[in-house]
């Protein structure tokens, strides 16, 4: 019997051997570099981008690298590791909030840029050349730039560009009233309830992850904690449409015009926007018109590094040379518009009810109905059409000259954090002993007060009243919910009305919920691997960097995100169609690794 069992076993095994594929049967090619010494790559990233790190790890491992992960829990620890140079590649991401390609490259890649860790003359030249060109011309220059940056020198390895998504409760809100713009932050004034009777009684409830607000002074912050808030608290000279075209709609300008030569920009201001202030935690109208004087003051301080301590956005405005009030109508008549026919005056008058009769310097004298207008002229250091995009950015928000000067009485060089309170300090709006709301808002809403749970905004009563831009809803509450899953739950149970940015793996959940609507458009956000430029093997060898570059398979990443990502070849990809594409190529990886190891 024993023998029978044994022979049965043997036969069974033999049959199995015949029809079972082993791993070596299906693996037709060995991976990795032949000589067994695997180059090691350390990937630095945050735990929030764990998925991306895993995909890159997997792709590099399969191409014969020895991969180490350095996962940091938050941005602070990530930055500390990055500054210490403890990485070969850092998983980075960039969002071009101004919607123009110059911003997408300048601070990241130019020598000495705000976030730049590299110095390459050829790249500097290409960035500067492209900045002076018009959109038709710069496509070629940016293509050249990309080829140099990515494919030739491999300073970065692009991963993907994302969609911008938001989910809203369509039972409560009118879906069409909620805008989704490529670059612009969510505009609150257009949003409306299905039931118009609720406009006065019910607050609109939004959510955001960060509860510590960098600063409510627009020039002192440029991050996720304040972008949406400051965008709705301060009006700008121009706005971006949903697909990133510069427009005067909903901005402080009735019209704007570029003078011939691309260095002078004229803005014709509205006379129906007043500052709002907060008294007893309620919004109150001031008689102070948002006028030319405030515009000039705001732009001068935006470009001046020393106007406030800890100025975070001056590099965005470094191309502004001067901003001044124009009082002479004849000046407008003399100047021709850029590339077009007609004078600047004609361009500024387009569509106005009353033609320009007089230009006034004093805010109080402005009366558009009577033909008394205010005009501001911005001059750039060099021909730079993209300056308009920067003027549409949150950091170019208009603040009250009078109010800011009365609060910021300290000397910038002697600023003492413990003693001096700067305009826009979040402690002045946080409930408690330090509460002393001194904000003057030029935008549709004003922040009344906040705590760790939420921030409460009220409609600016003096904001374009009786126009289509007048805010619909009286009160906006912004809930601070750190965890994205929790904030999605809050949306689903009706606690909040809009969720700004929905993670890819939750699309199904949102689409399956009958009261929610998912909106999505391609965004300007790009994720990429940034190579270390100092002290690592990847810093020295372009071949090693290129080996990493060609290991990246963007198709797989898009598959992972179920098609909800877009291919990218650099940070300008969402803005300029350069035609470049990164294709994974195992043969090239081997070739470059071979070259690297032969070095």
């Amino acid at each position: 019997m024993k023998k029978a069992v044994l022979s049965f076993l043997l036969i069974f095994t033999l049959i199995l051997t015949g029809c079972v594929n082993t791993k070596s049967d299906v693996e037709n090619e060995g991976s990795g570099s032949g000589d067994g010494s695997k180059p090691s790559i350390e990937i630095l990233g945050m735990s929030s981008s764990e998925e991306d790190m895993n995909i890159v790890r997997d792709q590099l491992t399969k191409n014969g690298f020895d991969v180490k992960l350095n996962i940091q829990p938050d941005y602070g620890s990530f930055k500390a590791q990055q500054d210490a140079g403890n990485y070969d590649v850092a998983l980075s991401s960039w969002t071009t909030v101004t919607g123009n390609p110059d911003y997408a490259v300048r601070s990241l890649f130019i020598s000495g840029g705000d976030y730049s860790i590299m110095a390459d003359k050829e790249i500097d030249e290409l960035i500067d050349k492209a900045s002076t060109e018009t959109p038709e011309e710069y496509a070629k220059t940016y293509k050249e730039f990309e080829e140099k940056l990515v494919f030739d020198k491999a300073y970065i390895a692009p991963l993907y560009s994302s969609y911008k998504t938001q989910a809203l409760n369509k039972d409560v809100l009118v879906p069409d009233s909620v805008r989704l713009s490529k670059s612009r932050s969510l505009a609150w004034e257009t949003i409306d309830f299905q039931d118009e009777a609720k406009r006065e009684s019910d607050p609109l409830v939004l959510s955001q992850t960060l509860s510590t607000l960098t600063s409510l002074d627009p020039i002192k912050g440029n991050d996720g904690s304040i972008n949406m808030l400051n965008s709705n608290m301060y009006i700008r000279l121009v706005n971006l449409t949903d697909d990133d075209v510069v427009t005067a709609d909903g901005s402080l300008s009735r019209n704007f015009s570029i003078a011939d030569g691309n260095s002078e920009y004229y803005f014709l201001l509205r006379d129906d926007v007043n500052f709002a202030k907060v008294t007893d935690k309620k919004a109150e109208e001031t008689d102070d018109l948002v006028g030319a004087e405030d515009v000039v003051f705001s732009l001068e301080r935006a470009k001046d590094k020393n106007s406030v301590p800890d100025h975070r956005t001056y590099s965005l405005h470094e191309h502004i040379e001067t901003a001044e009030v124009v009082t002479d109508v004849s000046e407008l008549e003399k100047v021709q518009t850029s590339g077009g026919e007609g004078t600047v005056k004609a361009a500024l008058e387009e569509g106005l009810d009353t033609e320009i009769a007089e230009l006034v310097a004093e805010d109080d004298a402005a009366d558009n109905a009577a033909g008394k207008y205010q005009v501001v002229k911005v001059t750039t250091t060099e021909p730079f059409p993209q300056v308009l995009n920067y003027l549409a950015h949150q950091s170019a928000g208009i603040v009250s000259k009078e109010q800011v000067e009365s609060i910021n009485t300290y000397k910038v060089e002697d600023f003492d954090v413990n003693k001096d309170i700067a305009y826009g300090d979040q402690n002045t709006v946080t409930e408690g002993d330090s509460y002393d709301n001194t904000l003057y808002a030029s935008g549709p809403y004003i922040l009344s007060h906040k705590n760790d749970y939420e921030a409460v905004f009220y409609k600016n009563p003096g904001y374009m009243t009786d126009t289509e831009n007048e805010p619909n809803i009286n009160q906006v509450n912004v809930r601070f919910i750190a965890d994205i899953d929790s904030s999605l739950s809050a949306l689903r149970n009706g606690e909040t009305h809009i969720q700004y940015s929905v993670p890819e793996n939750k699309y199904e959940t949102v689409e399956g919920d009958s009261k929610l609507q998912l909106q999505s458009i391609p965004s300007n956000a790009v994720s990429y691997l940034l190579f270390n430029t100092e002290g690592r093997a990847v810093s020295e060898s372009a071949d090693l960097r290129r080996a990493v570059l060609y290991s990246i398979n963007q198709e797989e990443i898009i598959d992972y995100y179920q098609g909800n990502k877009i291919k990218a070849s650099s940070t300008v990809s969402p803005l300029v169609d350069t035609g470049n594409e990164l294709k994974a190529d195992a043969d090239k990886v081997k070739e470059f690794l071979g070259k690297y190891q032969a070095e």
Binding site: V5, T22, K23, E51, E508
Partner: protein
């Protein structure tokens, strides 16, 4: 007189017969599982039937009905005759078939029912066979995959051969009449060799056979026999032990029968697939096989769980023994220092250690160990305090034995029992702590299969792909529960007060 004895026998038969309690236990668990499969087998939103779970429900329902019949028969037999009739016992053979649908509760009950006089060897052999059977069954699920590990066939052949050998052992054990036989030496050695596959039931059985061969004092054999009998007769403890050893054996055998690549390599062509034959527990968001990941994850959970219990066991045990034996100032200093450590919450301490030294398996083990040293030291100290005053310690001291020899020869061995029980009970806690830390992103690198990591991925898909969280969750619960059951059983077996 004899009728009086008979009636007494009948009166207490229900309580005295372990089969009756076990029959009810197996019945209740089996019915519970049947209901779970029924709920899982019907899609309530559409009213449709899910074939896999529904057929499992039917199979379990059949065995539950049989089980209730058997339980009824057993009760009737005991009430009427005071003993279980052999015709009732024959039903056990049929119930053995439930091993095929994975109902270990009715199977384990059937083992006990079939044989009237159960030696611990017999039960251990049965559990050894069951472990081996399930390891083979689970490993052979890999046959449905597009490809298997290179060593798969060799591994499976070895496992099958061992299974056949163990069947032979079963026959020998059944025939064994307690006499010293020649085969015991060779079979014992072979069994110990086969326990290299992680089937520690075989190790226990082999050691017992060797003990019988080599032991010169029958009392030693009898002592071991009594202890084993107690554990073996405790069905929940044996089931706990079974599951632990099954997982242990599977994680050792997975070196040959599972392909690690399936668990870590991303496969974007097969992301988030529902459970199927090729992917028995589905695939996760990176297209990795959750089944393989859970099997490989068991390794880390077991290693970290056992090591982070063993280290404080040794360190805390030594510190506790020293402070309990020497007393006075030594005791005061050591215990106050440990009190300081005790005051820090264990999981916080672990988080701090990991934050300081970086996440890796070694730091994880150390982080989890340090926090539980004081509790072991306290347990040991209490035992030592009690035992130091026993007569045999005094006599050893009177005979002039050195302190060290008294501690390690007299006191420590006699205070081990509570420590062992405590250890088995805390392994479960350590397994949970490992998974919790990984879940929080503080444990092992996220792509490495570890139960907490798998659960973390699943938590993001709770609504759309709930199986991603359910299966690793069940694995964690089952392992922790098993350790707790085993701990309870060991306490009953080792506690002298219960003699």
């Amino acid at each position: 007189m004899s009728t009086h004895k008979d009636s007494l026998l009948k009166k207490f038969a229900l309580k005295a017969t372990s089969e009756y309690a076990q029959a009810n236990f197996a019945l209740v668990v089996s019915i519970a599982l049947t209901l779970i499969f029924l709920l899982a087998g019907i899609d309530f939103s559409t009213g449709a039937i899910k074939p896999v779970f529904f057929s499992l429900f039917i199979a379990y329902a059949v065995f539950s009905i049989i089980q209730s019949f058997i339980a009824y028969q057993v009760k009737r037999d005991l009430k009427r005759d005071g003993v279980i009739r052999s015709s009732t016992r024959m039903w056990g053979y049929f119930q053995l078939l439930s091993v095929l649908v994975g109902n270990i509760f009715t199977t384990a009950f059937a083992f006990g029912l079939i044989k009237k006089k159960k030696s611990p060897q017999y039960l251990f052999t049965m559990f050894m066979l069951m472990t081996q059977f399930y390891v083979i069954a689970v490993s052979s699920l890999n046959l449905f995959k597009p490809y298997v590990a290179n060593t798969f066939l060799m591994g499976m052949f070895l496992l099958l051969a061992i299974f056949v050998f163990q069947l032979v052992v079963l026959l020998l054990v059944i025939k064994d009449n307690g006499q010293l036989s020649k085969w015991k030496l060779s079979v014992g050695i072979l069994l110990i060799l086969t326990s290299l596959t992680g089937n520690l039931f075989a190790l226990a059985l082999g050691l017992f056979m060797l003990l019988e061969v080599f032991s010169k004092t029958p009392s030693t054999v009898a002592k071991w026999y009594a202890m084993w009998e107690k554990i073996a007769s405790n069905m929940t403890a044996m089931l706990g032990l079974f599951f632990i050893l099954f997982i242990f054996s599977l994680s050792i055998c997975s070196y040959w029968t599972f392909d690690y690549g399936m668990a870590v390599d991303n496969n974007y062509g097969a992301t988030l697939q529902m459970p199927s034959l090729a992917y028995p527990l589905g695939t996760d968001n990176f297209g990795r096989d959750v089944f393989s990941r859970i099997v490989f994850g068991a390794r880390i959970s077991l290693i970290v769980g056992v090591l982070s219990t063993f280290i404080p066991f040794v360190v805390g045990g030594i510190l506790g023994a020293i402070s309990g034996y020497y007393g006075k100032r030594t005791d005061n200093i050591l215990m106050r220092l440990l009190d300081v450590l005790y005051a820090i919450p264990g999981i916080l301490l672990a988080i701090v250690i990991i934050a300081a030294f970086g996440a890796s398996t070694t730091t994880l083990v150390i982080a989890l160990s340090v926090g539980s040293i004081p509790t072991y030291a306290r347990t040991m100290r209490a035992n030592v305090l009690m035992i130091s005053n026993m007569e045999y310690v005094m006599s050893a001291r009177a005979l002039g034995a050195s302190n060290l020899s008294i501690i390690f020869k007299q006191i420590v061995p006699n205070s081990m029992a509570p420590m062992i029980v405590k250890a088995t009970l805390t392994i479960g806690g350590a397994v949970i702590a490992t998974s919790s830390l990984s879940y929080l992103g503080l444990g092992i690198e996220p792509h490495i299969p570890e139960w907490g990591n798998i659960l973390k991925v699943g938590s993001a898909y709770l609504e759309s792909h709930s199986y991603l969280a359910i299966y690793p969750g069940i694995a964690i619960i089952a392992l922790v529960l098993s350790f707790n059951f085993l701990g309870d059983g060991l306490r009953d077996a080792l506690d002298p007060k219960l003699d």
